[in-house]
Symmetry: C2
Subunit: 394 residues, 2 copies
C-alpha cells in the first residue's frame, strides 16, 4: 500500500483490548487459565438446540430467516415480559428491545449520548467491553471508588455535584471484574442521588441470574424506571455465540437507541431471536438455569476454599454470591503484572487487575480470577501455583 488512509482522529482512542491480547497468550496448550471471562461450554443447552430449531422452523417458517424490525423479533419481545418481571422489571413488549449482545447497546448508548470531551462516570475498576464501546466517541472518564459493597454513594454524589455527566455506567450485580454486588440499602442511596441530580444510570446486568447463594436484590431499573437504561444478555444463560442482548430504556432514549441500531446493523439475527424466544417461552431456560448454577457453584466454592487454604495473609479477595469472577488484592505496592508473567512461566494464567481501570497506573496490586472455565482440580492447582509464586517474592 503506497498511501496513508485518512483515518479519523477518534481511532487514536481505539486501542486493542488488552484482555483480548492476554487471552491470546493464555490460549497456549498446557496452560491452566483463570484468565477467561466466558461461560463453560458445558453450560450450553446443546441437546435441545436441534429441538428448538425444529420448533422455530415449524412455527415461524421463512419469517425466522427474513429481515425483521430493528426493535427486535416480536414474539421474543413478548416472551421477555414475563422473564423480566421475574427480575422485578414490569414492562411491556413494546418497551423491550433486542441488541446484538449487550455490547451492541453499549455502542449505541455511546453513539446517542457522547460527544468528544463529554464526561461519563464509571466504577473503577469497570467492565472493559463498555470502555471499548464508549472510547470511539471520545469521552472523559470520571472514575468512582468502590469498596467490597461496590460503588460508594458518597463518591457518586461528589461526581454528580461537581460534574455534568452524560450518564453513570454500573455493573451492580456480581460485577466484572470484581464480583461485587451493591446491597439494597446502598442501591436506595444511589437511586436517590440519580433522581436528585436527574442523571441517567446505565445498569449493565449480565450476571444476576447466576446466583449460587443468598437472595436476589432488586434491580435499579425496578427502583427508578425513568432514570435507568437496563441491559442484560442471554450469553450467560443460553449461548453467547447467538449474540442476544436485551435492553429496556425510557422513551425517548429507546427511540434514539433504535434509530442508532438501524444504522449499525438493521436488526439482530431473526433466527437466533426466534430460538431465544422458544428457549424462554417453552420453559427450557427455567430447566437449564439450575443446571448452569449446579455447574458453576462447586467451581466457585473450590476457588474460595483454595484461596483460603493457600493465599498469603496479606492478600484479600471478594466472596461473591454468584457470577463468574473473584477479585483479589495484594499488599500496596505489589506488582501483579510481574506476578502474571512469572505465573505464565509456570503455565498458570489470570488477568492483572490494572487493565480494568480506565486510567493507567491504577490497580497494580489487583487481579481477576475466573472459575467458570476450569474444573475444580485445576482451579485448586492454579491457586496453589499462584500462591507459590507469590511466596517466592516473584
Amino acid at each position: 500500500m503506497n498511501y496513508e488512509p485518512p483515518f479519523a482522529p477518534r481511532t487514536k482512542n481505539m486501542g486493542a483490548n488488552m484482555i483480548r491480547e492476554i487471552l491470546k497468550v493464555v490460549s497456549q496448550p498446557g496452560m491452566t487459565s483463570l484468565a477467561g471471562g466466558i461461560p463453560a461450554p458445558e453450560s450450553f443447552p446443546l441437546d435441545i438446540i436441534k429441538e428448538l430449531t425444529d420448533i422455530v422452523l415449524q412455527k415461524y417458517s421463512w419469517r425466522a430467516l427474513q429481515y425483521d424490525p430493528t426493535e427486535g423479533f416480536t414474539p421474543l419481545r413478548e416472551a421477555l415480559v414475563a422473564y423480566l418481571e421475574k427480575k422485578g422489571i414490569k414492562t411491556a413488549a413494546a418497551e423491550i428491545c433486542i441488541s446484538s449482545g449487550s455490547q451492541g447497546v453499549l455502542d449505541a448508548i455511546g453513539k446517542i449520548f457522547i460527544s468528544k470531551g463529554d464526561t461519563i462516570a464509571v466504577e473503577a475498576p469497570t467492565y472493559l467491553g463498555a470502555i471499548s464501546a464508549f472510547n470511539p466517541y471520545e469521552p472523559r472518564y470520571v472514575c468512582m471508588e468502590m469498596d467490597e459493597d461496590g460503588l460508594i454513594p458518597d463518591e457518586l454524589e461528589k461526581v454528580l455535584n461537581n460534574t455534568k455527566v452524560k450518564f453513570v455506567y454500573l455493573v451492580p450485580t456480581f460485577q466484572n471484574p470484581t464480583g461485587r454486588t451493591i446491597p439494597l440499602e446502598r442501591r436506595r442511596k444511589i437511586v436517590a442521588l440519580v433522581e436528585k441530580y436527574n442523571a441517567i444510570l446505565i445498569e449493565d446486568d449480565p450476571y444476576s441470574a447466576l446466583r449460587y447463594r443468598g437472595e436476589p436484590i432488586p434491580t435499579f431499573k425496578s427502583m427508578s424506571p425513568d432514570h435507568v437504561v437496563y441491559t442484560t444478555t442471554l450469553s450467560k444463560v443460553f449461548a453467547p455465540g447467538l449474540r442476544i442482548g436485551i435492553y429496556v430504556a425510557p422513551e425517548p432514549i429507546r427511540r434514539w437507541l433504535v434509530t442508532a441500531k438501524q444504522g449499525i446493523d438493521l436488526h439482530s439475527s431473526t433466527f437466533n431471536q426466534a430460538l431465544a424466544c422458544e428457549y424462554i417461552s417453552g420453559g427450557y431456560l427455567d430447566r437449564q438455569l439450575p443446571k448452569i448454577i449446579n455447574l458453576y457453584k462447586p467451581k466457585q466454592e473450590a476457588m474460595l476454599s483454595a484461596l483460603e487454604k493457600y493465599f498469603p495473609a496479606e492478600y484479600s479477595w471478594s466472596k461473591p454470591e454468584g457470577g463468574m469472577f473473584i477479585w483479589a488484592e495484594g499488599p500496596k505496592g505489589a506488582d501483579l503484572v510481574k506476578l502474571y508473567w512469572k505465573c505464565i512461566e509456570r503455565k498458570t494464567a489470570f488477568v492483572p487487575g490494572k487493565y480494568f481501570y480506565p486510567h493507567p497506573n491504577q490497580g497494580l496490586e489487583t487481579m481477576r480470577l475466573n472459575y467458570t472455565m476450569s474444573d475444580e482440580g485445576n482451579i485448586e492447582g492454579a491457586i496453589k501455583t499462584i500462591s507459590e509464586v507469590i511466596a517466592s517474592g516473584f
Copy 2:
C-alpha cells in the same frame, strides 16, 4: 419523564429512514407493493436449514455457540476464499472478515474514517442504508451524477480534483435504487482516477450474484486491491435474517475495522456463521443460486414488458441484467411523491426516488420499482395501475 436526556448533537443528524416509514404505510392489507427491497421468502433454502443445523451441531458442537474472534468464524473465512475467487477476488482467509450484515461494516467504515464535516463522495441517488450508517459521524456529502451506465468518471475526477474526500462509496453492480451497472471500460477509468488521487473506494456489492442475463463484470476490488474495501452479503443468496456480511479490506484498514467491530458487537453470531460456512462449503449455495435466479428472472421480465406495454412515452426506465430494482424517470417537473399518494389510494405502492438522494429537492421525477416480492400477475397489474394514475394527470 421529568428531565431532558442530554443527547449528543449528532442525533440531530440521525433522522428515521424515510423508506422504513414508507414500508410501514405499504404493509397495509390488500396493498400491491413494488416498494419493498427485500428478497422473496421463496428464495430462502428453508428445506435445508434443518440439515445444515444438524451438520453444524455435529461438526462444531459447542464451538458454534461460544464466543468467537471478532474477525469471523475461521471455517467460514476459509470457505469464502473459493467463493470470492469466483468473483475474481483472490485473497486469503486471514484477509476476509465477517460483519453483522453489510450494514455492520458500513457503520464501522463511518467510525474509522469520518469526523464531523469530513467529505465523502456518493452516487446520487445512492443506497439509503449507507447514508444511515454514515450520518451519525456527521459527514458532508458530495453527490456525483450518474447516467444509465452508473457513475460518470468525469464527475468523479471533478470531485477528487477539488475536494479532499475520506472515501468514495459506490454500489457499482445492479445498484440500489437504480439497478444500474458500471461497464468494464468505465470501471477502468474510475480505477485509474482512484489510484491517481490515492483515494479509497468502498465497493458495496450485495447484488452481483443475482444476474439474469449477460456476462459478469470484474469487481473494482479485483482491479485495484489496495484501494478498495469490498463488501458483500449472504442476505440475497442465503437469508437476510442471519445477518452475515463479508468484507475484504487492505491492511491497515482491515485492522481498524476489526478493532471498531470489537467495540460494536464483539463478533457476529457464531451459529449463523457456521450455518453459512456449511451452506457454502457443502455446495448448497451453488445449488440454491440457480433456483433464486429462476424465481426472479421471470418477475423482472414481467415488469419490463409491463413497463413497455403500459408506461407513457415520456417515461424512461433502466433495463438491468440482474438485481432487484428498476428505476423509472418521468418528464422534468413531474412530482412522483404526489403520484405515490394517488397510487396508495388505489392500493398500489412504489418508492418515490427523491428519498434516495442525500440532498433534498433532487430526483422528484424518479421512482424505484421492486419486483422480487410480487408475482408476475401482480407486477403487471401494479404497473398498469400506476400508468393509469399517470395518464389521469395525477
